[in-house]
Symmetry: C2
Subunit: 566 residues, 2 copies
């Protein structure tokens, strides 16, 4: 008897090669191993095609396919995490669970975005539908809102023999184990629980600039172009995806990447850098994944994203990003991917790599700056949201109402010229032609209004979207710094009460200084790119607007000339 | 006991000097003689002021004030019409009423727009409210829709001893005595019933042009400016009106005229010229008679009107128009006014003044031309109405939605610059200023959109309104010509049947030729000014639009420059 499955949800095929099925229908399967969440099978009428694995239940199995698939992923992909696989202790409240247990939970979560690593092509597929991406098939791709779940602390236990900060267990842990301060590793670092090997190449320097701490500039700045999104196919053409060509200026070697690769990279970066605002990827879109305008829009979003990545002194240099930008070999890619996923210098340990300026910061001044920045981000977020809403409505109006009005005027002029053509008077035919041309001109102007937002308002909205992503990151960044500062205050109190020795408190102080330096450097970087980007974008917008109104004027001047010979 | 009146309708004062009154209230009156539809009186609290005469009932009188006022007007103003004042015959159906009776009815109607003629200032007052103008107080000013009632035939009886066409009573009269053909005098003329003194100076020549019959050009063309609408007052400042300064180029003498004078003139012209399209006056407006924009709008409408008057070879030369343009003396004005109102060469008799080209027209060709023109006017009327609706909506959108969108964008930019001002970074203050300036620029552009329709779309609408007036006149013009042609066909049939002698039929033929020449000359003139006006107006519109978009571009370029120093 062939392998069979029972359909548990109705499924309507949306693409060639898919098979529409009804609940309770029995299918014959080619294999119980799904490929990218799809199973190949045939129905009772002999129609053959792909169905989502999560929509069927393989008969003779105790679990739904989604579950079996998940275990499959665990079996294949979790090999490097076996050291965390001991059963969790029982009887302890969640907030009291040891770091290991939290980490295991977080690594399990992380696994959803990592997937198996013994794949180059297949498992990187994003041919799943959007419904799949929201998690119904494999549940592997979290919504971008889930970004904070990437922030995990990789606890290296006692294995580290390079740098290990001294534990100061007398300053208590936060009770809320789900706060960003805890999850990001900020607390563990401040309390001296982080440890890891830090090579010279891993060192990240914060230097003192005119406005305070700054990231040391990347001495080898580069940029990266994203070109030629091409549609590629697999499953004998039944499934397709979009591949982007990336060419970094420092290698000049083109690499081919898909959105899913960007998504994986984003996950690694967000996990690794607790106080760095990793730019958000352009949003996944609900419809029209292969429509030209969507592909073009996503490409533009990725270009913006790439620009922010290469502009960032820390992000641009980091190994996983360099691997992403330069690797062309399949085997090397898998190695680099595994290495990145095993990176120890993430979360708490990331702070071990930071080399602060010699003079420690004045925490009172730091607090004031951070508070000011908090107010600033709130205001900027409000005004960016307002501008985004206004600009989006303005684009809608130009593409709808404005276009319609100009076209209606154009059509009315043309109707008038047609009425005038019935005048039996040859000497007005020049006028009739001129009025008809004027009508055409107004219809053309209507089209200009329709096309314009794509040239000027869309880039403004792309910019705002990117910055809204940053602004959404900063509360977490600030939270980590604030958490560290609170620990300093607690430790000072403990010293005054004789509960902690000064050396321990000094350690906390030093580590808070490191977090503060990194936070202020990141804020400084944010202001730097903000001013650069908004200046450039406002100039671009105004230039486009000027060109637009010039084009209208030119069309009208052309129409006006037609009256000269009347 | 003082003269008293009971208030029959609530009245709320809208201007200084008016008295608010309630229904049933008893007022003490200064006099039972109203001035321009207003009575002066005081209420029980001693408040004194003007109330509309039609809102009160004078006690001890059997009629409302409006009625007594009307008899008053008749008694004062109808002295020159006494020869028509015999009681109408009884027992005849309306369509069989003799010409005299019709004329009397029409003259009574006419009286509503003429008023008494022993006035220069008082009775020309248009200080009545718009409600008054619609007829509720004095009922003397008919709506412009009442234009056709101006078309009367002044029957001169047997008094004429100069030209008298021979009656051809055997071709029957139309049964519908209210048709334009009858009312205009066209029928009476064709049937040979018109007679009147025609001096050489009254002669109107139709000549043969390249496109058919044309009015002979005015050998002394002129134009007339309309400037300085000024507000003047009467009743010790309690009532006011607007006076326009007219300066014709052929006299260079300024005369002062009010809308009511124009209205009177329009009545005379519409009555006198059955197949000439007398331009309609700009509409009376329901509100804001003294608001700047209304005065300016009316003046523009009057300028258009004057332009069409002075451009017309027949209208520009006629006595009553010349009197209107040149008379500055009060006594001469009254004389000219009486003379115009007693003019015999109106309606049927107007045709006596027409001198056709030597060769008679081919009526078949005439019929085809007239039919073609009828189709043309229908199409032009439809497209003018459509264009008017579109343009009016376009103006509304620019002044509303477009302005709002640009202003919202401006405000959002300004909000962003305000948020950026909280960045604690002095090096971005240039950017903040530039963005703020951009916000101001967009707010200014919003205002440009608000102001623009007054400069370009309003003149288009004024032009369309004037032409819609002409297009509304032409069905009547065509009707007169068609009626004449029908009489020709009837007479030919009568001749064939031996019921009419050929000489009589030839007379009808000749008179139909005169009407046809005049009609085609008028159509020719219409096309001439149409092409001239639409060419000029389209050019003006496009020039204004070009200037508008240039202004926007200039503002944006100014904003763009602000980013240079950032």
């Amino acid at each position: 008897m062939a392998l069979q499955a029972r359909v548990i949800y109705d499924f309507n095929s949306e693409n060639p090669g898919e098979l529409s099925v009804k609940e309770s229908e029995i299918l014959s399967l080619v294999s119980d191993q799904d490929i990218d969440g799809w199973l190949e099978g045939s129905n009772s009428r002999g129609d053959r095609g792909l169905v989502p694995a999560s929509y069927v239940e393989i008969l003779g199995s105790n679990s739904t396919c989604a579950e079996s698939r998940y275990s499959n992923v665990l079996a294949v992909g979790f090999d490097h995490l076996q050291n965390f696989s001991q059963p969790p202790p029982v009887g302890l409240p969640a907030y009291a669970a040891p770091l290991q247990q939290q980490q295991q939970q977080q690594n399990n979560n992380k696994q959803h975005s990592q997937g198996s690593d013994d794949d180059w092509d297949d498992d990187w597929d994003d041919s799943s539908t959007v419904a799949d991406e929201a998690g119904t098939v494999g549940g592997r791709y979290l919504d971008s809102e889930g970004a904070s779940t990437y922030r995990v602390t990789t606890y290296a236990g006692q294995r580290g023999n390079a740098i290990q900060t001294k534990s100061s267990a007398t300053v208590g842990r936060n009770l809320n184990r789900f706060s960003t301060f805890v999850k990001s590793g900020g607390e563990a670092f401040v309390l001296g629980e982080a440890s890891g090997f830090v090579k010279d190449g891993d060192k990240i320097c914060v230097v003192m600039g005119p406005h305070g701490p700054e990231w040391q500039e990347n001495p080898y700045p580069f940029s990266c172009t994203i070109d030629d999104p091409t549609r590629q196919t697999k499953f004998k053409g039944m499934k397709s995806y979009i591949s982007y060509k990336l060419t970094p200026t420092h290698t000049q070697n083109q690499v081919s990447r898909r959105y899913k690769h960007f998504d994986w990279l984003y996950g690694r970066l967000a996990e690794k850098f607790p106080v760095i605002s990793v730019p958000h990827l352009p949003e996944k879109q609900a419809t029209g994944r292969f429509e030209e305008d969507f592909i073009s829009k996503r490409r533009k979003g990725l270009i913006w994203w790439m620009n922010h990545m290469t502009s960032h002194p820390v992000l641009s240099k980091c190994d996983v990003f360099q691997h992403f930008l330069t690797c062309t070999d399949e085997k090397a890619w898998k190695q680099g991917k595994r290495k990145a996923e095993k990176d120890e210098l993430v979360g708490a340990n990331f702070f071990l790599t930071i080399s602060p300026p010699p003079a420690p910061l004045d925490f009172q001044e730091v607090e004031s700056k951070i508070d000011g920045f908090k107010t600033f981000t709130k205001r900027m977020d409000d005004s960016a949201m307002q501008l985004n809403a206004t600009v989006s409505e303005f684009a809608r109006k130009q593409m709808g109402g404005f276009r319609k009005e100009y076209q209606k005027v154009g059509m009315s002029f043309k109707a008038l010229s047609q009425a005038f053509e019935m005048d039996q008077q040859t000497y007005s035919s020049g006028l009739n032609l001129a009025i008809s041309f004027t009508g055409d001109a107004y219809e053309a102007i209507g089209e200009y209004f329709y096309e314009q937002p794509g040239k000027d308002l869309d880039p403004v909205m792309d910019l705002l979207a990117l910055y809204q992503g940053h602004l959404a990151n900063f509360p977490d960044v600030i939270h980590v710094q604030k958490g560290a500062l609170t620990k300093v205050k607690e430790s000072q109190k403990h010293v005054e009460e004789g509960k902690m020795d000064r050396a321990q408190a000094d350690g906390i102080n030093d580590r808070c200084n490191i977090i503060s330096c990194a936070t202020l450097a990141e804020i400084q970087h944010f202001h730097h790119i903000r001013v650069r980007d908004f200046k450039a974008q406002m100039q671009h917008y105004l230039q486009q607007q000027i060109a637009f109104f010039h084009k209208i004027t030119g069309k009208l001047e052309e129409a006006l000339q037609k009256y000269d010979n009347v």
